[in-house]
Symmetry: C2
Subunit: 108 residues, 2 copies
DNA sequence: TCAATATTCAACCAGATGGTTGACGTTTCA
DNA sequence: TGAAACGTCAACCATCTGGTTGAATATTGA
């Protein structure tokens, strides 16, 4: 029952996860390589990647023994548009707006 | 030590708080009036307003026995800029977006 | 002055979150 | 064949979150 925006925003609320997204902006990466710069266990990073995947912000694909992580811009776009609307508009029916987004954006 | 973005995104992650922000888009409101449409206690709403205030998304000013809540769009801007850095707004169909706005916004 | 109104505080609770460690299943390749 | 690399799982822990209720505080107005 939790809204897509709930998942996207709560995934974005963690600095480790934002850093991971920034890394993936450059290129797709394996889980081990994502974990490398962080001072925490591989298992912890694996969990963060799970959160990002559930939120739809990234996707993961296993090839051989390596699992590749890839940025998925759609979920970010929806959250971004929501905020843009907030910053720039006055009175707006956000329920209609979210319905508009649901119809507009691919995936779901 | 928590980053401003952590506070902003985690505040936005809750649907009740997003709904409150949407209400405050229309007009400043007293705490009791903010709480009215929600099926939860006044104390719970008071806590949500505290979270939004800590995140800088709203401000509260007490006049007499009434505490007025006011949207503070600036905090949203920083989060918005972070998302802009991902540069994916272009993938949205802007024509459809503007058509949506034209239908939504009052007498323009 | 006294009751009603507006809001917060404090204590409590269940469940989520973010981290750890160690064991485990796969896949590679020497 | 078997060790090493890749990644997840399970259990555990401390802390945070979002809600409750009841009492407390401050202000208003009759």
């Amino acid at each position: 029952m939790t809204h897509k925006l709930d998942l996207a925003f709560s995934a974005l609320a963690d600095p480790t996860r934002r850093a991971i997204l920034a890394m993936l902006l450059e290129d797709d990466m394996a889980v081990t390589d994502v974990a490398d710069p962080f001072e925490m266990s591989l298992a912890a990073i694996s969990k963060h990647l799970g959160v990002l995947t559930t939120a739809g912000l990234i996707s993961q694909e296993k090839r051989g023994r390596v699992k590749w992580c890839k940025l998925e811009p759609d979920a970010l776009r929806e959250a971004s548009v929501w905020m843009q609307a907030f910053g720039q508009m006055g009175a707006l029916d956000l329920d209609d707006f979210e319905a508009f987004l649901a119809a507009q954006l691919p995936d779901s």
